[in-house]
Amino acid sequence: MRLLDYLETESIFILRETAAQCKKPVLLFSGGKDSLVLLRLAEKAFWPEKVPFPIMHIDTGHNFPEVLEFRDKTIARLGLTLIVRRVEDSIFLGRTCDLDGPFPSRNALQTVTLLDAINEFEFDAAIGGARRDEEKSRAKERVFSVRDNQGHWDPQKQRPELWNLYNGRVGEGGHLRVFPLSHWTELDVWRYVQVEELQLPSLYFSHTRDCLIRGRSILPAGPYLGPTVGESITQLSIRFRTVGDMTCSSAVESKATTISEVIHEIMASKSSERSGRVDDQVSDWSMEERKRAGYF
């Protein structure tokens, strides 16, 4: 059996288990490549029905305009319901606030908005596109991962997950995070995008942009991110590997204008996807800390 066929069929099984076991799931969508793959899998899993749950995007207010436009077009084309909840609103309501510093990242702030939205709609499962190969603490997270009534993840209380048996039961006020792409790698996602001929936001391909170079990261300069003392803006030919919050989506120098060129570049490169993400570098354990608190 071919790898992509296996990954696809397993993910479809997981999506159907979520729909069968949970009362009110939601699919988290950002317009990025992982969530586009997830959406295609959901389309396949439920046909001839429409995807039987709504799609939700947490907008940090620092998203790329072309990604938002792309998001709206995609969801409209499939005739699905899109829920958008904004970090701006959480800040306005005093639920959270921007971090200190000249150009703060809002990536971590999404947690509050996400958990508030899960409470608001009483979702009992939030399906996300995270992969186990992205980061160390993800490597041990379950496919059906339990969150308590605070939205917190406790790695010590993870449920054993065996065979094809996914326990989708949650207690009062808790919810599940479901990760159908657990076994996928970054390359698998790209190859799937290729064989399925999925459209992606243009940011994933080479373009010229004003950039800041900070440590190991190349970041897009713009209204939410400018040079601090000693830094300057450089024009580079880049593509993005992730297209989330503008303040922490880092880019790589690239000439790749097609999917197969991107795949070639990734195979040649040896830097894992998250290493360019600024907020994971803050502390070695920042992802685990954020996940415990209820992050994606």
Binding site: R16, P48, E49, Q158, N167, R169
Partner: protein
Amino acid sequence: MNSPRDILRIATGGSVDDGKSTLIGRLLLDTDCLAEDQLEMARSNLAVTDGLRQERLQGITIDVAYRYFSTSDCRVILADSPGHFEYTRNMITATSTADALLLLVDVTKGLTEQTKRHFYLASLLKVPYLLVCVNKMDLVGFSEGHFYSICKTINFMQRDLSFGKIDFIPISALSGENIARKSSRMPWCKGSSLLGRLAEIPRMQIYQSNQTRAYVQRRVSIQGLDYYQIWLCTGKLKVGNQIKAYPGDEVLTVNSLKNWKFPVTHVSAPAAVLVTFEEHRALERGTLLCKLDDANLPKNTNQLEATVCWMDNAPLRRDSRYKLMHTTNLTDITDLQVCSKVDIDRHIAVACASGVETNDICNMQITLARKIAVDTWQSNRLTGSFVLIDDQTNFTAAAGFITAVK
């Protein structure tokens, strides 16, 4: 370049400090699957597989972690399970779907109690391929004698145990001897390198079986037509096949099979497909579908005998508060009797005097509130296994292997 053709699932076992993390780091390194940042960590001597802060504080792995690497023709999904005895449940979890178990032995220490237990568990779980990796050969000058003396002890010890296949390999995880390439330091060693041996074993064995077993995940009714989203977990299904639907005993004919919107004439496991039948029957989630002409058909029963590994931190409670999850069926348990406990050091069943606690393995008799269709673990790992769910905490409290059906 094409994507890897196949998937191989492996698990690791062994005592703490036998070199499991080093081996995994080495496998990732030698298959070119360590990214630059991970490489830095590998160099700074932090185990690549130790994910969580607490684990780093303790300096050990305490949960199952998954790693991915690719060889020339195959993607390897590696489930890393920790070596401490109190985490037996993690080894069982990691091994549940594995095609092979790599069991590490430190050649300078020999077999520990821990390793012996892992042996026994591997045999209990019917791991298809057990590869004993005799590690740290560099510390004994790559000596043949040391290697064979370990093999001899193991062969003696396992004479009363059964494995699909057992194999031995001398390695040095630290210096990379016999991992990706055959070692020149151990010319006496017969057989290929570790990766070479893994390349030869059958893959995705859990889904391989002559028996066709599929179960209903969801039913969707559109304009009077029932579509079934099913999981074909073993065997093959073809349009026109006569199907027996359990636990009823209706016979149906496969009318169409679809992958998404595309009709196909046949499918092989594993496959999440969409099926329609010629007959209109409104089958429930959890219905087990088998081919009428299969040599082995499942049994309808509400009485199971099973070997059960207790996984919850809370001990087994005798009031009936557990549910049994088998395929996509969740069933109430009306009675649960613990017949004996398995003494994993002596490989025998003993009377269960005290309660059943975490990591205990015992033999149970379970009575269900209704009949379901099951196989034995011996004949099908997916339809012969189940988990118990605590109805109050929702925790997955135990994993069970069906040994006999009344």
